[in-house]
């Protein structure tokens, strides 16, 4: 015990020097407080509330991890969708125009050729591909059947275009260029359903933000009330320490260290459980054959991110208990 104390004394010495140098730096204080103190003058540990707080924080971080990993999975999935679909458009020159005219095979062929030439050399286009008649037949065969001879029927022309990552303005320019090259071209982007999807994703993201906010509020409230209870229980001892010249920081340190350790314990338990559940869901989603269950993808970095949950909760706890204790100490003479 002696040598430990000595060690802590040395650490204390340097950190207090550091403290003095950047005395305005409250965040730094916050951590040095929570880490440096080795001894409790207050019997904070033998409190029945502790277990409750531990479980609450474990639950909260469990929920936080689940909501976060949900958001991450959603994000990576929509990214895949977008990258797979967002930059592809299909241009159709249909046989029947909007005003009801039937285009001749020659007109269609000419406009297609025209379009292809324009697009191949267009700076915003990655690749252009005219669908062959066979490909078109494949596409429409589910509706008309395979036996139908299409040779004599005027087929629409379909051009699949992969465009570069561009902004909306450039995309509008591209649209104009296409219209210029072929006045009968219909541009089919995947905008509509994709924007629906993105809208939905946004809602989910807001929801997960909301969950996070609720979690933070509940954690803050729980810690505040726990610290207040402890302050009330140990009011006599706290007053005594005050009378003996203990600074606010000295007293705050005791509470802070206690609550931060408790919160860290709870948060780590909750986070580990949350990550286990997330990973299990990921594996289940991958191994399942059903199309109903989308494949969840949680990357390595995402898991690293999830591991930040306890750190964030520790920071919230440190801050909350700092402020709570300081406030009630300020009321003492």
């Amino acid at each position: 015990m002696f040598s430990k104390r000595k060690l802590f004394k040395i650490i204390n010495h340097y950190t207090s020097q550091l403290n003095n140098r950047c005395s305005g730096n409250k965040i730094y204080d916050l951590f040095s407080n929570a880490i440096n103190s080795k001894q409790y003058d207050l019997p904070l540990d033998d409190n029945q509330d502790n277990k409750f707080l531990l479980i609450l924080i474990a639950l909260m971080s469990f929920l936080a991890v689940l909501s976060l990993s949900g958001a991450i999975a959603l994000n990576s999935t929509t990214n895949k969708w977008s990258s797979g679909l967002e930059n592809k458009i299909t241009i159709e020159i249909s046989v029947e125009t909007k005003d009801g005219h039937i285009l001749s095979k020659d007109t269609i062929l000419k406009e297609t050729k025209n379009l292809y030439d324009t697009l191949s050399s267009h700076p915003l286009i990655k690749s252009v591909n005219i669908l062959s008649n066979e490909e078109i037949q494949d596409l429409i065969s589910p509706w008309v059947g395979n036996d139908l001879d299409l040779t004599n029927i005027p087929l629409p022309s379909l051009i699949s275009v992969e465009i570069k990552n561009i902004g909306e303005n450039e995309f509008n320019n591209l649209k104009k260029d296409i219209k210029k090259a072929s006045k009968h071209a219909n541009i089919e982007t995947h905008e509509q359903w994709l924007s629906d999807l993105i809208e939905f994703t946004k809602t989910l993201k807001i929801l997960s933000l909301l969950v996070t906010l609720i979690i933070i509020s509940i954690t803050t409230i729980a810690i505040t009330s726990a610290v207040k209870t402890r302050l009330a229980i140990h009011n006599e001892e706290v007053t005594l320490l005050h009378y003996m010249g203990a600074t606010d920081n000295y007293i705050i340190r005791q509470f802070q260290r206690h609550t931060v350790i408790l919160a860290l314990k709870g948060a780590i338990i909750g986070t580990v459980l949350g990550i286990i559940v997330t990973l299990s869901l990921t594996f289940i989603s991958r191994s399942s054959e059903s199309d109903l269950i989308p494949v969840i993808y949680i990357g390595f970095y995402a898991i690293i991110m999830l591991c930040l949950v306890p750190v964030i909760i520790a920071i919230i706890t440190a801050l909350t208990s700092y402020i709570t204790v300081l406030r009630s100490l300020a009321k003492m003479p």
């Binding site: 002696f2 104390r5 000595k6 802590f8 004394k9 204390n12 207090s16 001894q39 003058d41 207050l42 019997p43 033998d46 006599e236 001892e237 005594l240 320490l241 005050h242 009378y243 003996m244 010249g245 203990a246 600074t247 606010d248 000295y250 003479p333």
Partner: protein, 232 residues
């Protein structure tokens, strides 16, 4: 060192003035007894002296600082220079004798080996060498009082306030501790001892502040009574 000017004090809860128009000055290095019948306000006055309460009216100057104008951090450093023996001891129940006595040094962030030396030496001196690891509740009344005294003086305070410090002690150990206070006083500590023990007041013959229903009378008993210093 301490200057009270027209100080009035009441407990909010009560609503009646406990201390009336208190005026006195204690010079640095002085030694005073504070006496008066039970309920006359000795503890209340002592509390004002360690800034445990703020006077309702009047001005208290300590170590040259007007405490009503002092900043929070100044109050802390003022208090760190004051040692207090509380009438009801106020030991921290879950800390051992050693840790209770070590508390002021730890608040002052003294090196831990210094803390060890000081505390062990002092505890041996007050006869608690065998009880270092005991919790307050397994100490006798007198032993608890000695822990309270040891805690008050361990930090070599500039001002020592002792409220009835020998009420639970037998004469031998009582005089021994009074002797310790004399020594501290000779080394420069200003001392105020609230007591109703006339025997001790007579024997040590320091000037005496007498409280009566919240009014103070300052009398120097040194003239009237013979000093018995040969005890030490």
């Amino acid at each position: 060192m301490i200057k009270f000017e027209n100080v009035y004090f009441r407990y909010e809860y009560n609503g009646e003035d406990i201390l009336h128009n208190i005026n006195f000055t204690l010079d640095p290095g002085s030694y005073h007894f504070l006496t008066g019948p039970s309920g006359s306000g000795k503890t209340s006055l002592t509390t004002l002296m360690y800034i445990g309460n703020i006077p309702t009216r009047g001005k208290i100057t300590m170590f040259g600082t007007d405490i009503s104008k002092a900043q929070r951090s100044e109050i802390f450093s003022l208090r760190q220079r004051i040692g207090v023996v509380f009438q009801d001891f106020r030991l921290i129940p879950h800390l051992s004798t050693f840790d209770n006595v070590a508390l002021p040094l730890r608040i002052l962030k003294r090196p831990e080996d210094e803390v060890n030396n000081y505390v062990n030496e002092l505890l041996d001196w007050v006869g608690l060498g065998k009880h270092k690891k005991h919790l307050p509740k397994s100490l006798s009344g007198g032993q608890q009082q000695r822990v309270a005294i040891a805690r008050a003086i361990i930090g070599r305070p500039k001002l020592l306030l002792a409220d009835e410090p020998t009420g639970n002690l037998d004469d031998e150990i009582g005089f021994r501790l009074m002797g310790l206070f004399e020594q501290l006083n000779r080394m420069g500590t200003t001392i105020v001892i609230a007591t109703h023990n006339q025997q001790i007041i007579e024997q040590f013959g320091h000037p005496c502040l007498t409280l009566d229903k919240g009014h103070i009378h300052q009398e120097d008993k040194r003239k009237q009574r013979k000093k018995i210093r040969h005890v030490f």
